[in-house]
Symmetry: C2
Subunit: 250 residues, 2 copies
């Protein structure tokens, strides 16, 4: 029996991504990770450290998808405003959470537990903690929104920590076919016909430029293995036929 | 005289980015490129090959920012629907553009100019062409929306091609200070005070995890060099004081 489709949105928070100073590494990681889990990432937004922008993105995506994952803006400095912004998105406030404070007290000596570090224990009222095995300051979850760090290694650990409590759907299967030297412009029309003739599959063609020409991959995706294989067979037959035609031009 | 602020949004189009199959390289490139030009990238959305999603993203961002740059979905295959979607966003249709057809006719022999390849000459009515020196099939511009390829080398060439016709603003200047071994939790509170005392600047603190600890950089940004230098001096003095305190703990 097909289970419900489980979907996700992602909000990447940080001026440094939009200025180009930091190159995001979290979108690709989360995309691949969720696909493996059978959760479909449907939309990503990158926004600055600006409360109204964060609120808009979180509120739009949490209404639209099963889960929203955010990365960035939960550190100890003044530009880390994600906890306050997510609280505002839920119409509540961020305040020191006793469990989060305890985690920081276990890590830092009393004289090291600065006001700045205590900022990292401020969570929206009603949030639960997401474990951070690396630097202790936790991420958090409120309703369907999961708030993670921006530093990739910490974000990845938080994603692992929250995974057991996620609903997962039927995993999207995929198979990749090398188009050999055939250009998209040669197989585009027959490929469209194959895509149309195979409902329940999604067929994409992905060129990469080698410097002298294109190298193309055709990817067939489906939640149903039989449908995927049937479409892939049709693509393979079409590629073989075109390759032979190409070798023996009229 | 300060010119107007020039802003941009970006829409990255493609199922392959959201499935994690392809790791986006265009966001970081466009972000850094626009920053150099004095155009502020304010928001990025990654959406699937789905017309309503593309229309929503393009229409929201084109109303909000000076320019919208899109990448992806302008090739010859059935999953390349950006031209139709952008046309729909403007309430018009995509049709074969004689100038774009001529470019393809110059590149391909008549028997090579397949229906699929001719798809790449379909532009929204009213669009102008953006040169593609690499594979000829053009990008396009309609009003403030600039539509580019997803393949990074081609997108970069199209960005170069469209640059001469862009309005640019006052360039954001930035200077980066190494926080030495000081943790964010130690300088977070004084840094917030410096940020508050220096209007017209934006101060960010960016940790990266080395595997054993954090290495932090503080970045001061401003459109005014004097303000930037004054804030950077204050940050430097604060870091020196904290480092000395750290060396001589009470």
């Amino acid at each position: 029996m097909a289970r419900d489709t489980i979907t996700a949105g992602m909000v990447v928070i940080g001026d440094e991504i939009l200025s180009g100073r930091t190159k995001d590494k979290n979108i690709g990681y989360v995309a691949e990770y969720l696909t493996q889990l059978g959760i479909e990432l449907k939309e990503v937004r990158v926004v600055s450290d600006d409360e109204p922008m964060i609120v808009e993105a979180v509120n739009t995506l949490r209404a639209r998808y099963t889960y929203v994952f955010t990365s960035g803006g939960i550190g100890p400095t003044h530009d880390d405003i994600t906890a306050d912004a997510v609280a505002a998105a839920f119409g509540t406030v961020a305040e020191h959470d006793p469990r989060a404070v305890a985690l920081l007290q276990a890590r830092y000596k009393p004289e090291e537990l600065t006001e700045a570090r205590l900022r990292m224990a401020r969570l929206p009222r009603g949030a639960t903690l997401v474990d951070n095995p690396i630097s202790k300051a936790p991420g958090f979850r409120i309703d369907n929104v999961i708030v993670m760090a921006g530093v990739p290694s910490i974000m990845q650990a938080m994603l692992d920590a929250v995974t057991p409590e996620l609903k997962t759907g039927v995993k999207m299967l995929s198979t990749s076919l090398d188009a050999g030297g055939l250009p998209e412009g040669v197989y585009g029309t027959p490929l469209a016909a194959i895509a149309k003739a195979h409902p329940g599959t999604s067929i994409g063609s992905y060129p990469s430029f080698t410097g002298t020409g294109f190298k193309n991959q055709i990817v067939v995706r489906s939640k149903d293995e039989d449908r995927m294989m049937a479409a892939a067979d049709a693509v393979r037959a079409m590629l073989t036929e075109l390759t032979n035609t190409d070798k023996n031009p009229l």
